[in-house]
């Protein structure tokens, strides 16, 4: 019997396979397709204090090996999440992380208070949404702002605090360090990369039709960027890291574990293969077993040659 469990600084997962924010709804939405309670944890769609309608116009653009989205943080708002979705998560025994997005420090403080009062075990702070014009991007790109924000949230929220970093920065190490120094329990990385989808079509009446979708690039194509970022973060901090970015198969999982991830989140691949997470849990079990190891921790040590 292989032990796949992970203890991320006190936050327990039955296995390291999580789902990424924005790709999995808020609770049991995927339950028709897989048994969500089998996952390490799901991360909810980003939740803001007030409900948000998100962006108008085209929100998706498929690219080679990925996709660009500009959903614009459409979400039901924190009150409705607590009243409608939280009971489902509890009843169905789904381990989860609440992802929070805000525009100001005050927004995050308010949200952290609500999370604390609702006894939510883990939150992931989205400081890196590239799809809203104003707001959280600054927290994700400036180590001082990020440190201040993390510190303010930490004062209020006693649960497991994950800071999700954006790759759209030049110095990811100092951002990760700043989060760690100010009380974060864990770093998750990466969020989407800034990207522009362009389509130029020539219509039958010889006119040029142009489409532009500016948003966040995700999917398999971003994996090398994510691996690089996770490795750099690992060199800068001691706290656990959750690797995210283009994970689609077991090799990808092993690669992220090798460069320093303690758990992983699967995002875009869920759209194509809704059962990918369940498959990865089984395959991870087999890999560990085939190496005559007993646990995920042993596998991590072996992969990192410690």
């Amino acid at each position: 019997m292989v032990d796949l469990s992970v203890n991320l600084n006190g936050f327990e997962l039955q296995n390291p396979i999580m789902t990424a924010s924005g790709t999995y709804g808020y609770a049991d939405e995927y339950n028709d397709l897989i048994d969500v309670s089998k996952l390490g944890a799901i991360v909810t769609k980003a939740i803001s204090i007030e409900p948000k309608k998100g962006n108008s116009g085209e929100r998706l653009f498929e690219t080679y090996g990925g996709m660009i989205n500009r959903i614009g943080l459409e979400n039901l708002g924190i009150k409705e999440f607590i009243s409608k979705k939280l009971p489902i998560l509890k009843e169905k025994n789904i381990n989860f992380v609440m992802n929070l997005a805000g525009s100001t420090v005050e927004d995050y403080i308010k949200a952290a208070e609500i999370a604390q009062n609702a006894e939510i075990k883990a939150i992931e702070v989205n400081v890196s949404c590239p799809n809203v014009k104003q707001g959280c991007l600054e927290f994700g790109t400036n180590p001082n702002s990020l440190g201040h924000l993390t510190n303010e949230i930490r004062k209020i929220y006693k649960g497991f605090l994950i800071i999700k970093l954006t790759p759209n920065v030049s110095d990811i190490e100092s951002l990760a360090k700043s989060a760690e120094d100010n009380g974060a329990d864990c770093i998750s990385a990466i969020n989407t990369l800034k990207g522009l989808g362009v389509k130029v079509e020539i219509t039958p009446d010889k006119k040029i039709k142009k489409t532009f979708v500016q948003g966040g690039l995700s999917g398999r194509c971003i994996k090398p960027v994510a691996l690089s970022m996770v490795r750099r973060i690992k060199s800068a901090v001691q706290i656990p890291i959750i690797g995210i970015g283009g994970i689609a198969n077991i090799d990808d999982v092993l690669e992220f574990l090798t460069v320093g991830a303690d758990a992983v989140q699967i995002g875009t691949e869920n759209f194509c293969h809704p059962d990918v997470t369940i498959k990865l849990i089984k395959e991870l079990d087999s890999v560990i077993d085939s190496l005559n190891l007993k646990s995920l921790d042993e596998l991590k040590r072996k992969l990192r040659d410690e």
């Binding site: 769609k45 929100r59 998706l60 996709m67 809704p274």
Partner: protein
């Protein structure tokens, strides 16, 4: 219940210019007109959604037009090949209190109209399907009336006079659906439109295929739709 399924291809051939008919034998027990399936295409990030054009004892028929890499991949699948799809997805057409229906299909939008026609016939509801195509080579069989070249909408007043419908169902490009809706509002006839949008999850989760409704709310084409009351949509 919606599920990820593996079916077997029974038929996959060109039936009109750049237009293919795909028949999949599957374990689907129930699927209704308006609903769709989303097909996995190798090396693509997103599945491709297709309206169901017919369903009979587990056999699902969809029609598709060659547009890009996804449909080219499907085109190259052979009989007896396995095919990975999610089904059934989305909502269905509503035919409560309908005695006479006009169905309008523009281009490949004829697909769900064919299935709807079959269901209406089964229920004994009087109906008339008019469809429009760019040229004769593109015509898909099964309509009561076909318009070539011009717009199906050019004929709408004549047809309405003839059929006297209490509802108009339509599928096709957004502009056609908008005009059908406007016609319906002007003439006090209910309209239901089947919409299309680029989608990711197919189950209402990712919020990628959102349209705005007149009441100010967002609706996902994949879960709240693809069928909407025309007059509820903010065009």
């Amino acid at each position: 219940m919606k599920k990820n399924r593996i079916g077997k291809i029974k038929y996959n051939k060109e039936i009109a210019k750049d237009t293919y008919k795909l028949v999949i034998s599957s374990d689907v027990e129930e699927i209704s007109s308006g609903q769709f399936i989303s097909i996995y295409c190798e090396n693509k990030t997103l599945r491709r959604p297709f309206s169901v054009a017919d369903f009979d004892n587990g056999s699902i028929t969809v029609l598709y037009k060659i547009k890009g890499d996804g449909t080219k991949y499907i085109k190259n699948l052979d009989e007896n090949d396995e095919i990975d799809f999610l089904a059934p997805l989305g909502n269905t057409f509503n035919f409560e209190n309908v005695n006479s229906a006009l169905l309008i299909g523009a281009g490949i939008g004829i697909a769900p109209m064919l299935f709807l026609k079959k269901e209406l016939n089964k229920k004994g509801i009087k109906n008339h399907l008019i469809s429009g195509f760019k040229d004769t080579k593109e015509v898909v069989e099964g309509s009561d009336e076909v318009v070539i070249g011009g717009s199906v909408l050019d004929e709408i007043e004549n047809v309405v006079e003839k059929v006297n419908p209490d509802i108009i169902y339509s599928c096709g490009p957004s502009i056609v659906l908008k005009l059908v809706t406007e016609f319906g509002i002007k003439n006090n006839i209910k309209t239901q439109v089947a919409m299309e949008k680029v989608m990711a999850c197919g189950i209402g989760v990712c919020r990628g295929c959102i349209i705005e409704l007149k009441n100010g709310e967002n609706a996902s084409v994949c879960k709240d739709g693809p069928v909407f009351w025309g007059d509820a949509v903010k065009w």
